[in-house]
C-alpha cells in the first residue's frame, strides 16, 4: 500500500467548478441506467456529505502535492462557476453555504470533470478536480 511519500499526482486539464460540504440529497441521474426512474444519490454528495473534517484532510493532502494549484493557492478565492450567477457576496455564499444548497451543482461539476478529463490521481484515487479543489480550500479553515 502506498504511503504519502509515494503519492502520485496527475492533473489532466485545469479549472473546474468548486463544490463543498456536499449534502446527501437525492439527485436523479439515472437516465443512462437500466432503471431510469430510480433516484440515487450522487457520488460526490455521498462521499463528502457532512464530513468537513475528511474533506479538509483530503484537501491538505492535495495541497502538499500541488501547492501551486490555481484555485487553491489563490487565497481561497471562489473559482468561477462555483456559485450561481447573480449571487451578491460570493465568498460569503461559499463559506456559509448549506451543503444542500450546493449539492446539485457540485454533482454536475464533479461529473463534468470526469467528462473533461479533469481527474486528479491522489494515492490511487481518481478524483474529480472540483471536489479536490474544494477540499483544498476548506482545508485552510482547519
Amino acid at each position: 500500500m502506498a504511503g504519502v511519500s509515494r503519492r502520485r499526482l496527475i492533473l489532466v486539464g485545469a479549472g473546474g467548478l468548486v463544490t463543498m460540504g456536499l449534502a446527501a440529497v437525492a439527485v436523479v441521474i439515472g437516465e443512462e441506467r437500466g432503471s431510469p426512474q430510480r433516484s440515487r444519490r450522487d457520488a460526490a454528495a455521498a462521499v463528502f456529505a457532512n464530513h468537513l473534517e475528511d474533506a479538509r484532510v483530503l484537501g491538505a493532502a492535495y495541497l502538499s502535492t500541488r501547492p501551486d494549484d490555481p484555485v487553491a493557492a489563490s487565497d481561497r478565492r471562489v473559482p468561477p462557476g462555483a456559485v450561481p450567477s447573480g449571487t451578491a457576496d460570493q465568498e460569503e455564499w461559499f463559506t456559509d453555504a448549506v451543503p444542500a444548497r450546493l449539492a446539485g451543482q457540485s454533482a454536475s461539476g464533479c461529473r463534468d470533470d470526469f467528462v473533461a478529463g479533469r481527474i486528479v490521481e491522489l494515492d490511487g484515487w481518481l478524483l474529480p478536480l472540483t471536489a479536490v479543489q474544494l477540499c483544498a480550500i476548506v482545508s485552510g479553515d482547519a
Binding site: 500500500m1 502506498a2 504511503g3 504519502v4 509515494r6 503519492r7 446527501a24 439527485v27 441521474i29 443512462e32 441506467r33 437500466g34 432503471s35 430510480r38 440515487r40 444519490r41 450522487d42 457520488a43 460526490a44 454528495a45 455521498a46 462521499v47 463528502f48 456529505a49 464530513h51 473534517e53 475528511d54 474533506a55 479538509r56 484532510v57 483530503l58 484537501g59 491538505a60 493532502a61 502538499s64 454533482a107 464533479c110 461529473r111 470533470d113 470526469f114 467528462v115 478529463g117 481527474i119 491522489l122 494515492d123 490511487g124 484515487w125 481518481l126 478524483l127 474529480p128 477540499c135
Partner: protein, 486 residues
C-alpha cells in the same frame, strides 16, 4: 464401463474406434456424446475416482515467468479440474471470435455462429440452471428484477451463470452404463505413436504408476488433457518429429494464456450496488460491468470485465488502521467509516494479448513415469498493461461521469511487469487454432494440422480468449468434435 488400467495385460494392445486421452470437462463431454453412436470408444484417464497425491505429482513442473500456480490449477483424476472449478460460465462474444484489430493476434478462424448450435447443450452440461439467454438485455427486460448499475454508451453489463457441475460425479453413472464406452482409470498416456511420415496417428502408449503399460490402437484420437498437458503430450511425442508432434512450425506450447484476474481497485458508490452484481439472492447468476464494443474500440481495450466484490468496510478498517498514514485514504474513506457511501473491492478480468513468448516448454525433468515435465513461462506484454490501465481509467471516469461512484486503483504494480496481476487458472492457447499451419497447431475443426486423425479438445485451441471463463466454450467445442468423430 470403468476398468482399471492395472488389470490390462502388460504390453497388450487395446483396440478402439475412438480413443480419448483425459477425462475432464472435454474428454467426458466427447465420451458422453459418442454413447450409442456405434463407435467403440476408449477413454484413458490418468487418475482414479478420487484425488491421489501420487497421481497429482505427475503434474509437477517449473515456473520461469511471472509467478504461477502450476500444480493446483489442474486436478489429475476423473472429472479433471472440474473437481474444484468455480462453475462460472458464459459464452465468448462475437467480438472475441472476430478479433479486435487493436489487440494484436486476436480472433478465431470461426465465428460465434459456428458454436451457437453447441452452446445450449454445453450449458446444460456445465450447469444445472434454467436456460435463460445470456444477453444482457434479456436479463434487464425479463421478470427477474435485474437492475443495472450502469448501462451507458460506454459501459454495460454481462451475465455469468454459476453452478459448478463436477463432471466426474455428474456423468460417472452414464459412462459406467454405456456399453460402447470403456473408461480406463490409472491410464496415463505418455506418447502418441504415428506412422513413419508423422501424418497419421496409430496409437497411444499408456503407463500406470505401478509400472505396467499397454498400447491403445484406434482410428481416431482425441487429446483432452487440459491446456498445459495437451501441449506437453505433443511435445513429448518425438519419435518421428524431434520437436514434437504437430510442431513443425515451433508453435506447440507457445501463446500460453491465462486470464488476468486481479482485485485492483476500491470502489466507492453512492448507493449499494444492485444485488445481481454480488451474487446474493441472484446466486444462480452474477453480473459484471463490461465496456461496450464501441468503448473497447475507442479506448483500444481487450476483452474486459469488472466484477464487483463484497463490501469492504469491515476489512478495510483492519487493513488500513495504523499501517497507512495516508491523508488521502483517511480523507476519502473517513467518511465511509460512518457508513454513508458503499465501498467494494473491484476485480478486473481481462484477456491477455496472444504472445508467442508466453509458453509451455519441456524442462529437463521427468515425472514418475519418465515423461518430461513442463516449464510455464507466462509473460504479459506492455500492451497488456496499457490496456488494463486504460480499462481502469475508462471505468473510473464513466462511473464518475454518471455520478455513481469514485474509484481508487489499489495495485501499485498495475503497469509493472512484476506487479500483482493474477490469473484465473485457465490454461489456454498452447495448441492454437488457425486455418494456416504456419500460425496455428490445429485447424478450424480442432484437428492437428498435418495429422489426419488427431484432434485436440480443450482451451489449448483458443487462439484468443475474451474475458469469459473458458469451460463453456471448451464443452461446446468438444461437442463439435464429437460430431466430427461420428
Amino acid at each position: 464401463m470403468f476398468l482399471a488400467a492395472e488389470s490390462v495385460q502388460r504390453d497388450s494392445v487395446v483396440h478402439a474406434d475412438v480413443v480419448i486421452a483425459g477425462a475432464g470437462a472435454a474428454g467426458i463431454t466427447i465420451a458422453r456424446a459418442l454413447r450409442g453412436s456405434g463407435l467403440h470408444t476408449v477413454v484413458l484417464e490418468g487418475g482414479g475416482f478420487d484425488y491421489d497425491a501420487a497421481s497429482q505429482a505427475l503434474y509437477t513442473g517449473t515456473v520461469s515467468g511471472s509467478p504461477y500456480e502450476l500444480e493446483d490449477s489442474r486436478l489429475r483424476y476423473f472429472g479433471g479440474t472440474t473437481n474444484h472449478w468455480g462453475g462460472w460460465v458464459r459464452p465468448l462474444d462475437d467480438a472475441d471470435f472476430d478479433g479486435r484489430a487493436w489487440v494484436p493476434g486476436t480472433g478465431w478462424p470461426i465465428s460465434r455462429s459456428d458454436l451457437d448450435p453447441y452452446y445450449g447443450s454445453a450449458f446444460r452440461m456445465t450447469s444445472q440452471l434454467d436456460d435463460h439467454p445470456f444477453g444482457w438485455e434479456s436479463w434487464l427486460e425479463g421478470d427477474r428484477d435485474v437492475e443495472a448499475l450502469v448501462d451507458s454508451p460506454l459501459l454495460t453489463g454481462a451475465m455469468y451463470r454459476i453452478s459448478p457441475v463436477r463432471f466426474g460425479q455428474a456423468y460417472r453413472d452414464e459412462l459406467r452404463d454405456a456399453p460402447d464406452v470403456e473408461v480406463y482409470l490409472g491410464a496415463n498416456v505418455v506418447n502418441i505413436g504415428t506412422d513413419r511420415t508423422g501424418s497419421h496417428a496409430t496409437g497411444l502408449d499408456v503407463r500406470t504408476l505401478k509400472g505396467a503399460g499397454f498400447h491403445v490402437a484406434a482410428d481416431r484420437f482425441v487429446c483432452a488433457l487440459g491446456g498445459i498437458d495437451n501441449a506437453r503430450l505433443l511435445l513429448a511425442s518425438r519419435a518421428v518429429e524431434p520437436g514434437g508432434l504437430g510442431n513443425s512450425n515451433d508453435l506447440v506450447g507457445r501463446y500460453f494464456m491465462d486470464h488476468i484476474e486481479a482485485a485492483v481497485a476500491t470502489l466507492v458508490l453512492a448507493d449499494p450496488v444492485p444485488n445481481v452484481y454480488l451474487g446474493g439472492r441472484f446466486d444462480l447468476a452474477r453480473a459484471g460491468v463490461v465496456p461496450t464494443e464501441a468503448a473497447a474500440e475507442q479506448h483500444r481495450l481487450a476483452g474486459t470485465a469488472f466484477i464487483i466484490g463484497e463490501p469492504r468496510v469491515a476489512s478495510r478498517r483492519g487493513a488500513l488502521d495504523g499501517t497507512v498514514p495516508d491523508a488521502v485514504v483517511k480523507g476519502v474513506l473517513g467518511s465511509l467509516e460512518r457508513g454513508d457511501p458503499h465501498t467494494y473491492s473491484l476485480e478486473i478480468r481481462a484477456e491477455p494479448e496472444p504472445n508467442p513468448q508466453s509458453r509451455i516448454t519441456l524442462n529437463d525433468g521427468t515425472d514418475a513415469l519418465g515423461m518430461p515435465t513442463v516449464d510455464v513461462h507466462r509473460v504479459l506484454t506492455d500492451g497488456d498493461h496499457q490496456r488494463l490501465k486504460r480499462a481502469m481509467e475508462l471505468f473510473a471516469s464513466e462511473l464518475g461521469r454518471l455520478g455513481l461512484g469514485w474509484m481508487r486503483i489499489d495495485a501499485d504494480g498495475l503497469g509493472d511487469h512484476d506487479g500483482p496481476l493474477y490469473y484465473g487458472f485457465h490454461h489456454m492457447g498452447t495448441t492454437r487454432m488457425s486455418d494456416d499451419p504456419s500460425t496455428g497447431v490445429v485447424d478450424r475443426r480442432c484437428r492437428v494440422h498435418g495429422i489426419d486423425n488427431l484432434w485436440i479438445a480443450g482451451s489449448s485451441v483458443f487462439p484468443s480468449v475474451g474475458f469469459a471463463n473458458p469451460t463453456l466454450t471448451i464443452v461446446a467445442l468438444a461437442l463439435r468434435i464429437a460430431d466430427d468423430l461420428r
